[in-house]
Symmetry: C2
Subunit: 306 residues, 2 copies
């Protein structure tokens, strides 16, 4: 079983294609919507008493365990952001931690037995406290961001030796490693203790680096990108969902999981909020996964070219 800790949030998002107010969002939400297509998921998180729980019913129907999602008095975590025509980066207009500010994750017996774990982009101290409660995790992935890299570096460095795959973007990898070249940055992060580094590049795809191995999957070339919010967490959901389903964790499995991550993320960005993930089927996912191959497939050189 998969466990995710992260935000369940209300997002207000503007893109050139429209806007939404207080729509369903959050890293744990996107992650579990994506991963639950492939494997059972349990969510650890917190919402306020203003949160419209009915909006999570589709997750429950897909087998997501929400018992460890606490509901406490106060307002739900809120994020407000805007994207321009360059949909690759968001401008954060407002972040309200609200009930997340004093969140203290407590895992129940089921959550403690999780096989695979996604530590969404929250305070590395919280990530570590969740990880410590899981008895025997077989695979741990974590996301982080510039804010934690600068303000909680020590805690992050304590976390890294305990995780298998760190998921960051190019800028975060460079910042964490203090190294401009992305391949050198990935190698430096591996030396900090992770087994692999997955560099998420938005519309340019994702790069997985582990030791001397590099794997690259492009983003699916979409004609309609409406809202990139949650793409990274949907990627993580597809990635870990496939690994949990197959039970494999070698590099071949990680490669395949990167493509699954890109596949599900490509659906997530086709609509605002969770609108596309909500009704997404595994048959649609499988079909797009297969077309990915055509996107990077080419013939070997003829032997005459020496």
């Amino acid at each position: 079983m998969l466990l995710v800790v992260g935000s369940v949030a209300l997002d207000s998002v503007e893109t050139p294609f429209g806007a939404r107010e207080d729509a369903l969002g959050g890293s744990a939400t996107y992650f579990s919507a994506a991963a639950s297509l492939l494997a059972p998921v349990q969510v650890v998180g917190v919402v306020g008493d203003d949160f419209p729980l009915a909006q999570l019913e589709f997750l429950r129907a897909r087998g997501v365990h929400l018992d460890a999602l606490e509901r406490v008095p106060g307002r739900t975590f809120r994020w407000k952001g805007r994207y321009g025509y360059d949909l690759n980066s968001a401008q954060t207009l407002d972040t309200q931690l609200n009930v997340f500010e004093h969140f203290e994750p407590r895992l129940d017996a089921r959550a403690r037995r999780a096989d695979r774990l996604f530590l969404g982009n929250i305070d590395p101290e919280l990530q570590l406290r969740v990880l410590q409660q899981v008895e025997r995790p077989r695979l741990v992935c974590a996301d982080t961001m510039n804010y934690w890299i600068s303000s909680k570096r020590e805690q992050l460095m304590a976390l890294l030796p305990r995780i298998d795959v760190l998921m960051v973007n190019d800028a975060e990898a460079r910042q964490l490693a203090g190294e401009a070249n992305v391949m050198k940055a990935a190698a430096a992060i591996e030396r900090m203790g992770t087994r692999a580094v997955c560099i998420k590049r938005g519309e340019y795809g994702a790069l997985l680096v582990s030791g001397s191995e590099a794997f690259f999957a492009p983003a699916y070339p979409l004609v309609n990108v409406v809202d990139p919010t949650g793409a990274g967490d949907s990627f993580a959901g597809g990635f870990l969902g496939l690994l949990d389903r197959t039970g494999a964790s070698d590099l071949a499995a990680l490669r395949q999981a990167v493509v699954m991550g890109c596949t599900i993320a490509s659906f997530a960005v086709e609509a605002f909020s969770l609108d596309r993930l909500r009704d997404l089927t595994l048959a649609e996912v499988r079909s797009r996964f297969e077309t990915f191959r055509k996107l990077t497939d080419y013939e070997a050189l003829h032997a005459s070219i020496t």
Copy 2:
């Protein structure tokens, strides 16, 4: 035979890894250094009487025909640029057209019989005048830039229906099409008359779009990128060089050629100026071409994932 028209220049370049003054550069130079590893090349261009012709000896030794490279009184085309740690985009500090300002390309009998043609990033009027002199080109590729897209739009629109592959970056594709989404932009450019659009993405690789087909090749993940100048022209050289060598022009051939373009471009950026291309061998190119496959290769989903 391949024909290239473009600049043969003296570049002054600063990167975080060093600087060069008046080093060998220019689109035709990079293109022919790359392409000549695979096919015979002829250069059409102009240099001033200050140009150190001895620096082109390595091209001549590799079978590049330089008879149509005119030498006229005056100063050679000069470009001065700077790259920061984000090596993906240059800041142009100075451009001096010099002898290129009054360049009037005149093709000799051999050049007129070229099979494949690369119209380097020069005034679309000049590109068109070169193209009109080639008797029966089988494949024509052209590069262009923001300056021509805004100042010579009409001439560019006259050129597009006569070329097979337009090579531009994301921003140029968006600008030319007036469309933010890159896939829609590529489709719009195809409607302007080209058969395919190749979108060069620097460290993120290259995307080829033709009709409903899309192909993506990543950039080779390099630990040492020293100077990105000429990467795009080296890409074009590898691309057209392979197509000229194999004689094929179907989509499968274009895909393979994109990977060859990325392969040779990845060598070009490992050193300043033409320093890496100068001694590059086809065996090295072939070896790196083969390792590209591993970079994007992954296993199909097991049938149980439906």
